[in-house]
Amino acid sequence: MTSTAPRPVATLRRPYPPVRLAAAVAVAALTLVPLGYVLIFVVAEGPSQAADLLLRPRVGELLRNTTALTVTGCLACAVLGTGAAWLVERTTLPGRRVWTALMAAPLAVPAFVNSYGWVSVTASVQGFGGAVLITTMSYYPLVYLPVAAVLRGMDPAFEDLSRALGNGPWRTFFRVVLPQLRPALLGGVLLVGLHLLAEYGALQALRFPTFTTAIFDLFESTFNGPASTMLSGVLVLGCLLLLVGELRLAGRARVARVGGGVARAAVPHRLGARTPLALLGMAALAVLALGVPLGSLGRWLVVGSSTEFPIGLLATTTATTIGLGVAGAAATCLLALPVAWLSIRHPGLVSRLLERSTYIAGSLPGIVVALALVTLSVGYLPTIYQTATLLVAAYVILFMPRAMVSLRAALAQVPPELDDSARALGARPAAVLWRVTLPLVARGLGAGAALVFLAVVTELTATLLLAPIGTATLATEFWSNSSSLAYGAAAPYALLMIIVSAPAAWLLTRQSRREVVA
């Protein structure tokens, strides 16, 4: 074959390596436990019972709210995340390092802290508009981060070629850049959609009822298992629609560079007279996503009448939170690796199914995962009920998609030919993984771990249900204070949550800086 002939055929037909396949199947099986619980419950209830529980005006309203929020939020996050990533990575926008940090930072402010910040300032954010605004401000980094990473690694030669072929900058963006961004963009939007379907705290505070808040209310008020599990079934359906949609749109394009050696650094696009406008837009985004919640938090810390600093409780809660975060991040990344590797290196029906199945659990509301684990552990494994192990298992199931997206993107950038070269040099498959693949995906792995850590630190619903008695995290302490309107007492926990999240967020930005240097 010549230099232009692609060689995907050979890689497509390789058989699955048995040990890695078994590991991936085991991981997928673990993540499918909660889904299995929901499905078996729904089937056991039967169609007439299901119709009885679902065909109500209240369910119609929930469906309208959930759909409107998911669609609007996804679009808003896609536009804002991609636009901001483009400005930061590919233009002469001043202050690139600062913006890189600021754009990822909202991940350290959980949506329920964000909503607390807004609600405690003005009640006008309650309802649909406020829900879209606040969830978008909280979740656009999920699009920004993967898109920015791909923009950094993208070979600028394709853009140059497009310009040479007569396309202007806008046409080039839509015809050349966007198609290359597609896997990262769609992966990010998928995550946003899944988060919107599962969001509880923020929407509860904003009084915008969706399926997830309704399920929580049902469970809290009446312990109504059948009704809440039936509504979970509808949520699972919504999640499946998102997954299938992404699957259809993402396509089979190979995004690894095929060209020689290493890509050249891109020449940034000149903003020129548009610089002030771009700076203004970025500043507005930073103020809405960070300024308002942090300002409001600061105000409560200083002037709140209920503000108090119980040092001992704050310290133990912080330590507990960090320990759970580290354990959750390590376990999730370790378990995501075999599935991500298989889905990139051996694309096929089986690996695709395994990968997708790990996304399903991550889209279930935390309470459904928690309920499934409570029910099953009480019934079959009472020794792990009320232990940190069960809580970490819930985190693994819930946050696997975050690790998966980062890992898969990193793995897709590693040309499979490197594996061949290493094998030809005498390295066994395990050695190839250890000496070639892992060092090359270390950044992706680190990014995935940081994302999972951030998620665990700010996780609320599953932690409320699964934390062993006497174990409190910063999120649960914050929630119990703020939901009883003790805004001042809640503030120190939110502050600590942000401080604990800061190193992981900093790790994410430091990585992007190093990639700029390298």
Partner: protein, 361 residues
């Protein structure tokens, strides 16, 4: 395999470096290799030459062990690595593999890349790295650089050093020069040929570039539609191609109908000597343009010059023999006729023959 009658080999060959027999491979319903036979002498560089899609890369991947053959055997240095007895993993075959892009590990320095295939202790000590860099014509100071700090040609040299480091039984080169620009290609080719000769490694070079194959290799195997159609020394291949397609693939060729009679082919260019002893009858002669001289004097075939493509060192002259026949001649640049001039042609040396009506091998 089409085995031509060969002059005795110059060098003494103890065992085949690589032997491939009856190798078959399909991807789904698409057959790629239809029973490939190939013997590569130890210590020599053999080129597998073919157009894109002929299956040469598939052949190389089967030899390397990245894919499993449907049928047939592969033996490296006398040891069967793929066949009815099983298929060895790439890491168990003692092969060196150099890809089109080099594929250096981007996270490792040049020294770490070169040492990658060595045992752990030798790897730590960077054992032999500077000697290998010297072998491929790179300064030892390159050892600390990263792949993205190297030019394409340097990357390919490092890739070769990396492949040679574990002292492989056979080196597989998959179009290693095709991604380089012309100038780098020439110098990198020379460096690679010198390094291979110095290391004495058996090597297989897959390429679609006939000049590369003819100039670098000791033996050339021409591949077409998943088969080896001819395997010979470069000179043998060029002067005595098995058919006109092979002839045209390895160079320019003038194809003329002829009649064979007693080792002489009668055609529009007169009676030409043929190399092989063939039965009398209709045939096609394959004449290289540089065999046609324009200054034959009275005994030559009369022709007149239609046009001239001038290249400096030489020129291609298109000539008309009477009304119906046109031939091209390649003449040195210093002695050219004028367009329209009448000249007399003679053919120097033996010509190749394709026997008309015989099945294409």
């Amino acid at each position: 395999m089409t085995q031509l009658s060969e002059r005795p080999q110059q060098r003494v060959v103890t065992a085949d470096g690589l032997r491939v027999a009856g190798l078959q491979k399909s991807y789904g319903p698409v057959p790629v290799l239809h029973g490939v036979d190939l013997a590569v002498p130890a210590g020599a560089l053999t080129a597998v030459l073919g157009r894109s899609g002929c299956g040469k890369t598939t052949l190389l991947r089967l030899v390397a062990g990245f894919d499993r053959p449907d049928a047939g055997t592969v033996s490296i240095g006398g040891r069967e690595v793929a066949g009815p007895g099983g298929v060895a993993s790439p890491e168990d075959r003692r092969i060196g593999y150099v890809t089109q892009e080099g594929n250096l590990f981007p996270h490792l320095t040049v020294a770490a890349n070169v040492a990658f295939g060595l045992p752990r202790r030798a790897r730590r000590a960077r054992f032999g790295v500077s000697a290998l860099l010297e072998l491929v014509g790179l300064e030892p100071s390159y050892a600390k650089r990263y792949p993205h700090e190297l030019s394409g040609g340097q990357q390919q040299r490092v890739a070769l050093a990396r492949a040679l480091a574990p002292e492989p039984g056979i080196l597989l080169l998959d179009e290693p020069f095709s991604s380089l620009d012309v100038e780098l290609r020439e110098s990198t080719r020379r460096a690679v040929a010198a390094a291979l000769a110095a290391a004495g490694t058996t090597a297989v070079l897959v390429t679609h570039d006939q000049a590369e194959a003819l100039s670098l290799a000791t033996r050339v195997a021409v591949m077409r539609d998943g088969r080896i159609v001819q395997e010979a020394s470069p000179a043998q291949l060029y002067r005595h191609p098995v058919d006109r397609a092979v002839a045209a693939f390895v160079g320019d060729v003038v194809v003329l109908p002829a009649t064979l009679r007693g080792g002489v082919a009668e055609c529009a260019l007169g009676g030409l000597r043929v190399a092989a002893a063939l039965a009398d009858g209709p045939a096609t002669v394959l004449v290289r343009p540089e065999q046609i001289a324009l200054d034959a004097g009275d005994g030559g075939v009369p022709a007149h010059v239609l046009d001239i493509e001038y290249y400096g060192h030489d020129a291609v002259v298109r000539l008309a023999l009477g009304a119906a026949v046109e031939v091209t001649a390649r003449c040195p640049g210093y002695a050219l006729p004028a367009v329209g001039e009448r000249v007399r042609l003679a053919v120097q040396g033996e010509v190749g023959v394709e026997v008309t009506g015989a099945p294409v091998p």
